[in-house]
Point group: C2
Chain length 126, copies 2
DNA sequence: CACTGACATTGACATTCGTCGATGTCCTGG
DNA sequence: CCAGGACATCGACGAATGTCAATGTCAGTG
């Protein structure tokens, strides 16, 4: 079962209009994007698909050495400290940010090619 | 109240290490990304931050005229027809796809600059 | 050596999201 | 005009997400 209940329903068409009825369901052959690739990319996009996380990345990238500590990020966002830590963890787990603990403070910075790699996915279209 | 409970806790530090303790919380002045911009961008990223929706975009962009009907998209995805319609609506509402109904079928195609605009957000970093 | 302050982790909660089945709408063919 | 097929819309439901308060951890300080 589950064997594609679709049954090539254009076996009785292609008669009246010249090309408006002959064009549906013409697969190109390529099986589209693989499921694993899609899941991996979706996970990375999901990491930045949040208003507060986008602002965090913005704050970090526009900071002095492209790095910022949690307090720098917490203050302009009106969020609880634990919430900010949670979002930062998501961005680190997605490979967008890196965490470096210096003394008492934790500094977050952008992973060099991460966002550009994601941008490349959106622009590389044949 | 709610007036920044942080109280510049580096008024008693700056003694031992040369610069490891003098760098925390040095805001650059710019208020980061605005809340409205962040919400708008996050909504667009959220639209493509799903494995199945990414594959839909991939299927459409690699199709004949960069357009595909629902049946073209439903078949390789192993999803119900209503689920596919739902995802396509999300992509249309986000400005990524356009819908054009020709005869009985609905053709979906990419909005020309949409994904490139999103990619530009990720690459334009000073 | 106890204390404070920066940050992470945990548990709880409401909200949103992804998926499906059922139903509705509209076009086409007989 | 009526049947059927393509697609959209409507509930419904489990899973994931965003947020907070409370607690834990660990470095630096008096």
């Amino acid at each position: 079962m589950s064997m594609s209940v679709h049954n090539r329903w254009m076996t009785t068409a292609m008669s009246t209009t010249p090309e408006a009825l002959t064009a549906c369901c013409t697969p190109t052959g390529e099986p589209a994007m693989s499921e694993e690739t899609a899941s991996s990319l979706a996970a990375q996009f999901k990491a930045i698909a949040d208003p507060n996380r986008l602002r965090m990345v913005s704050i970090i990238s526009s900071s002095e050495n492209a790095e910022a500590c949690v307090c720098d990020i917490t203050e302009p966002l009106n969020l609880g400290q634990s919430t900010v830590s949670h979002h930062l963890k998501i961005l680190v787990d997605a490979g967008v940010l890196t965490r470096e603990k210096r003394g008492v403070w934790a500094y977050y910075s952008l992973v060099p090619g991460a966002l550009d790699s994601l941008a490349g996915v959106l622009t590389s279209r044949p």
